[in-house]
């Protein structure tokens, strides 16, 4: 079972269009906050706060080089969130299998 606090942070981080946009931008390569802020109708500080949320959720990594802060996607930062979704799907597929098996044996015994 994935830990709740990890999931809370990951899903909270994703529950915002600007932050999803930032993650999509970072998929094209590492970038500085300035680069990320440029196309957005938002101040540097505003973007920086969003980046902070992504960082604390483990989705983005910040590396300080001199005066520049470079951001990169954290490999498999969404792993916990994905695992959680997989677990939920498994819950229902187990039941669908059990139902299928039951219907099959009902059919079998009716013959």
């Amino acid at each position: 079972m994935v830990e709740d606090s990890v999931l809370d942070r990951a899903y909270a981080a994703l529950a915002d269009p600007t932050r999803r946009h930032l993650l999509e931008t970072l998929r094209r390569g590492n970038a500085r906050i300035t680069d990320l802020a440029a196309p957005l109708p938002m101040t540097f500080a505003g973007v920086s706060r969003h980046v902070g949320v992504l960082e604390s959720a483990g989705l983005v990594r910040r590396e300080v080089r001199g005066r520049e802060h470079w951001l990169s996607l954290q490999p498999d930062g969404l792993g916990a969130a994905r695992q959680w979704m997989d677990e939920q799907a498994e819950f229902w597929s187990t039941r669908a299998d059990a139902l299928s098996e039951r219907l099959r044996s009902k059919k079998g015994s009716a013959l």
Partner: protein, 145 residues
């Protein structure tokens, strides 16, 4: 990043939609398949109409879990839609939605499509950013097994 957070399970079953639908609303049948071992349904309540209650008392390796809900749609043999809350969640008052559609495939098979959409738990705390966080069906917890 655009992954849809709805859980989806689709399965073709060896029975007609009428037969499959009947399995979903028959407490004795549900006891058999809704609680795969090692968990066990101790009691099942189904009030088969819109607004009716649904409840599973599950013995999960010694601890009792209650899954409760209410039918939002009841359209035999095509569709079932009901709420789903779970006593084992960190917030047991969270309500998620289960949607189950049944479509005939050939003469005697059914495509069953389950969609479990999830309301957010206590996840969204970044009020200071001033974004209206929509109820984007993201986080909640489902039964632990």
């Amino acid at each position: 990043m655009t992954d849809d957070p709805v859980v989806r399970v689709r399965r073709v079953l060896p029975a007609t939609p009428e037969e499959v639908f009947a399995e979903w609303v028959d407490p004795e049948a549900l006891k058999d398949w809704m609680c795969p071992r090692p968990s066990r349904c101790v009691a099942v309540l189904v009030e088969p109409h819109v607004g009716g209650r649904v409840r599973f008392d599950v013995d999960d390796s010694g601890s009792l879990i209650l899954i409760t809900g209410q039918f939002l749609e009841f359209d035999p043999p095509n569709l079932l839609r009901f709420t789903w809350s779970h006593s084992g969640w960190s917030d047991p008052t969270v309500t998620s939605i289960v949607n189950v559609a049944f479509e005939p495939v050939g003469d005697d098979q059914t495509l069953m499509s389950i969609e479990h959409s999830l309301l957010p738990a206590e996840a969204f705390e970044d009020h200071d950013l001033g974004w209206a966080v929509t109820a984007e069906q993201l986080a909640a917890l489902l039964p632990r097994r």
